[in-house]
C-alpha cells in the first residue's frame, strides 16, 4: 500500500503530465494539413498518454533503444513497448533518481516508473535494457526497484567476433521473454511476426517516400507522431492505420493538395525525440521550414531497415534479427560509427535537404561527440547546420526559436 503523501504527489505529477501531453496533441491537431487516418494515431496517443487506458491484454515487455527486435517479443505473444520517456514532467520526477547530468530520456523513463505515471510502466513484466550508452547502463541498475530487468550486452565495435558472441545473448533474452509470456516461440510464430513487421517497414518506407517529394503532403511533426506511435499501438492495428494514412497521402498527391514549395527542407538528426517532446520539430516548422528527413532513433530510423531472412529456419531467423538490430544501427554508442555519416549523406541526397537540425539532449554525450563529424559533413556538402542543445523543459523555447528562425531565414536567402 502506498501512503497518502505518495498518492497526492502522484496526482500532481499525473495532472501536469497530462497537461503537457495535451499541449503537444493540440499543437499537432492544429497543423493545417489534413491527412485521413492521422486522427486515429492521435486518438491512440491520447488513449495511452492522457487517459492512461490499458492498451493491450498481452504481457508488456519493455525495451529501450533500437537493438531489441520487436519480432521476438511478438512471436512469444508479448507486447513490445519502448520505454524511453519524452515527457518533461516525468523528467522532473526522474531528477530525484538520476544525477543532474544524465539525459532526459533516462530521467523521464525512471520518473515514469517511480511515479507510476502510465500503465505501460506499471504493467511492464520485463524491461530489456541494451547496454548502449552509460546512462542506459546505470539506469538498468535503478530499474530493478520497479520491474524485472534484463541487461543486454551490446558490443561497442561491430565485428565478426563480437557478433558471434551476440547470438547466445539474444537467445538467452528470448528465454526470458518466453518465461514472462508463458509461450514458446515457434518457427511459425516467428515467421509470422517477421512478416508483420516487414509489412510495417514497407508501409513506413512508403510514408518516407512521400517526404522525399518536393511537393510535400505531410509535415515532419505529423510524420514523426505517426512513426513514434508505432511503439504504443498493437502492430496489426498500426499496419492498417498506416495503410489508411498512405492511401490518403496518395490521394493528396493526385489532387495536388501540396504545401508551399519554398519551405527550406530540413534533415533532423541527433538525440532521440520521443513523444510528447516535439519542441524542436514543431518550432522549426512553425517558423516556415519543413522536416523532410528524420534520422533519429525514435523516428524513421526505428522503421527504416527491414529484416532480411535468407536461412528460413528458426536459427536463421534469429540470426537475421540480430543482424538487423546491430549492423544498420547508426547509434553513436558504437565506436567508429562511419555508417551514420554515410546514411546522412545518402539522406541529404534522397530527400533534397537544404539544412540540418542537430539535436543534442543535455547529457547525451555520444551524440554530442559526433556533432563535429556531422558539422564536417555539412561543410563538405555546403549544407548549413544548426545544433541545439536542450532537454525537455519548455523555458528555453523562445531562445531556441530565435536561433531556428535565423537559420530558416539564412537558408531562404541563400
Amino acid at each position: 500500500m502506498k501512503d497518502q503523501a505518495f498518492l497526492r504527489r502522484k496526482e500532481r505529477y499525473v495532472r501536469n503530465f497530462v497537461r503537457l501531453t495535451n499541449k503537444t496533441l493540440a499543437n499537432l491537431e492544429e497543423i493545417r494539413n489534413e491527412i485521413g487516418g492521422i486522427e486515429l494515431i492521435y486518438q491512440k496517443l491520447s488513449n495511452l498518454f492522457v487517459e492512461n487506458k490499458l492498451i493491450t491484454d498481452k504481457p508488456i515487455i519493455g525495451t529501450f533503444c533500437y537493438m531489441i527486435p520487436d519480432e521476438i517479443i511478438i512471436a512469444a505473444g508479448g507486447f513490445p513497448i519502448k520505454l524511453c520517456g519524452g515527457n518533461y514532467i516525468a523528467q522532473i520526477a526522474g531528477d530525484e533518481i538520476a544525477p543532474r547530468d544524465s539525459c532526459p530520456v533516462v530521467k523521464s523513463a525512471l520518473g515514469s516508473f517511480e511515479m507510476e505515471l502510465l500503465s505501460i510502466y506499471t504493467d511492464c513484466k520485463l524491461a530489456i535494457v541494451p547496454m548502449s550508452c552509460d546512462c542506459k547502463k546505470k539506469m538498468a541498475e535503478k530499474l530493478v526497484k520497479y520491474t524485472k530487468v534484463l541487461p543486454l550486452h551490446i558490443p561497442s565495435v561491430k565485428n565478426e567476433q563480437n557478433f558471434k558472441q551476440l547470438i547466445p545473448l539474444y537467445k538467452d533474452a528470448i528465454k526470458h521473454i518466453e518465461n514472462e509470456t508463458g509461450k514458446k516461440i515457434t518457427e511459425s510464430s516467428l515467421r509470422k511476426a517477421i512478416n508483420l513487421t516487414k509489412s510495417i517497414n514497407r508501409e513506413a518506407r512508403k510514408l518516407m517516400d512521400f517526404k522525399k517529394k518536393l511537393d510535400t503532403v505531410i509535415t515532419g511533426s505529423q510524420a514523426m507522431a505517426i512513426v513514434n506511435a508505432y511503439q504504443y499501438i498493437d502492430r496489426e492495428e498500426y499496419l492498417s492505420i498506416l495503410k489508411t494514412i498512405n492511401k490518403s497521402l496518395k490521394v493528396k498527391v493526385k489532387k495536388k493538395e501540396t504545401m508551399k514549395r519554398n519551405k527550406p527542407r530540413i534533415l533532423l538528426t541527433g538525440s532521440p525525440i520521443v513523444f510528447p517532446n516535439y519542441k524542436l520539430p514543431y518550432s522549426i516548422e512553425e517558423l516556415g521550414a519543413i522536416i523532410v528527413a528524420d534520422e533519429t532513433c525514435a523516428g524513421d530510423r526505428m522503421l527504416n531497415d527491414p529484416v532480411l531472412v535468407i536461412d528460413k529456419t528458426y536459427e536463421g531467423m534469429v540470426r537475421a534479427l540480430v543482424v538487423k538490430s546491430i549492423l544498420p544501427c547508426t547509434c553513436p554508442t558504437f565506436s567508429s560509427n562511419k555508417e551514420r555519416i554515410y546514411r546522412l549523406k545518402q539522406m541529404i541526397k534522397d530527400y533534397q535537404v537544404d539544412g540540418i537540425l542537430y539535436n543534442v539532449l543535455r547529457g547525451c554525450i555520444p551524440y554530442d561527440f559526433e556533432q563535429k563529424a556531422v558539422e564536417q559533413l555539412s561543410k563538405e556538402l555546403e549544407i548549413p547546420i544548426i545544433s541545439i542543445e536542450t532537454d525537455y523543459n519548455t523555458e528555453d523555447t523562445e531562445q531556441i526559436k530565435i536561433r531556428l528562425e535565423a537559420f530558416v531565414e539564412m537558408i531562404k536567402m541563400k
Binding site: 530565435i402 536561433r403 535565423a406 531565414e409 539564412m410
Partner: protein, 262 residues
C-alpha cells in the same frame, strides 16, 4: 525613398531613418513597458530630425526580441539577418567583414558571412548573459562608474586584475573581493574585459577566415572591450559606424529589399 528600422532589444529600443545609401538619423529609448508608444515617439522624432513628413516613409521593418509586438511595422526580420544587412551601411569603405560580432544587452552573436555578404553560419550565447552588455552594466555600478566610461578607464590599466568567473553573479562576488584588496578599478575593468574577450573569442575563433572582423551592437562602443578582444584574437577588430543601431539599420535595409521586390 525613406525607410525606418526599429530594433526592440532587451534594454533599448533603437530606431533609424535611412535612404538607399545613407543613414539620415538615429534615435534610442529605454525599452520600458510600451513598445508601441515608444516606437511611435521614435518615428516622430526621426521624421523631425530628417526633416520629412511621416507620409514620406516607404516602409517600416522591425527586428529584435520584441519585433512582433511593434504594430506599426510592416515587416519583421530576425536579428541575425538584420545584422548581416546592416553592415552594408555601417562597415565603412575599406572594411570587408566576413565575421560580425554583436554584443547586445543580453545576448551576443557571432555571424559568419560568405563572400557575397550573406549569412553562412552563426552562434549565439545560449546559457546565460555573461559577456553581454548587462554584465558590464552591473559591474560598472559596483565600481561606481557608468557603462559609457568603463572602456576608457580600462584602457589606462597597467596591471590588469585576474577575473575568472564568467557568471555575472560570481564575477560580482569576485570583484567585491578585489575591491576589498584595494585593487584599482581600472585594473578590475581591464581584467573584466579580458575575461569577456576570452568568452567571445571562444565563439568567434571557430569562424575566423580571410576578411575583416566587425563589431556591432552597444558593446562595440566600449573601447576597452575592443582592445581586449584584439589582444585575445591578435587581429584588428573594426567597429561599425552607428554600431548600436546596426540591427535597426539592417531591418530598414531588409524592409527596403522587400519593397523593391514588390
Amino acid at each position: 525613398m525613406y525607410y525606418i528600422g526599429l530594433d526592440g532589444g532587451s534594454t533599448y529600443l533603437k530606431a533609424c531613418l535611412i535612404t538607399k545609401d545613407k543613414v539620415i538619423a538615429t534615435k534610442v529609448l529605454s525599452s520600458g513597458i510600451s513598445n508601441n508608444e515608444n516606437a511611435n515617439q521614435l518615428i516622430k522624432g526621426l521624421c523631425h530630425l530628417g526633416n520629412i513628413k511621416e507620409e514620406q516613409i516607404n516602409g517600416i521593418c522591425s527586428t529584435g526580441y520584441s519585433r512582433r509586438s511593434i504594430d506599426i511595422a510592416d515587416d519583421n526580420v530576425s536579428e541575425i539577418t538584420a545584422h548581416a544587412f546592416g553592415i552594408r551601411l555601417t562597415s565603412g569603405q575599406d572594411v570587408t567583414p566576413r565575421l560580425v560580432i554583436d554584443i547586445g544587452g543580453q545576448d551576443m552573436k557571432v555571424i559568419s558571412l560568405n563572400e557575397k555578404g550573406k549569412v553562412d553560419n552563426f552562434i549565439m550565447n545560449d546559457k546565460c548573459a555573461a559577456g553581454t552588455g548587462k554584465f558590464i552594466e552591473v559591474i560598472a555600478e559596483i565600481l561606481d562608474t557608468t557603462i559609457d566610461e568603463v572602456g576608457s578607464l580600462s584602457k589606462e590599466s597597467k596591471n590588469p586584475a585576474d577575473i575568472n568567473s564568467t557568471c555575472v553573479v560570481f564575477a560580482q562576488t569576485e570583484i567585491i573581493s578585489l575591491i576589498a584588496q584595494k585593487k584599482d578599478r581600472k585594473d578590475i575593468l581591464c581584467g573584466l574585459h579580458a575575461s569577456m574577450a576570452k568568452r567571445i573569442g571562444k565563439m568567434a575563433r571557430k569562424y575566423i577566415k580571410n576578411g575583416d572582423i566587425l563589431m556591432t551592437g552597444g558593446g562595440a562602443k566600449n573601447v576597452g572591450l575592443i582592445q581586449a578582444l584584439e589582444d585575445e584574437l591578435m587581429t584588428d577588430i573594426f567597429v561599425a559606424e552607428n554600431s548600436q543601431f546596426n540591427g535597426a539599420i539592417g531591418a530598414a535595409l531588409y524592409g527596403m529589399s522587400l519593397k523593391e521586390k514588390e
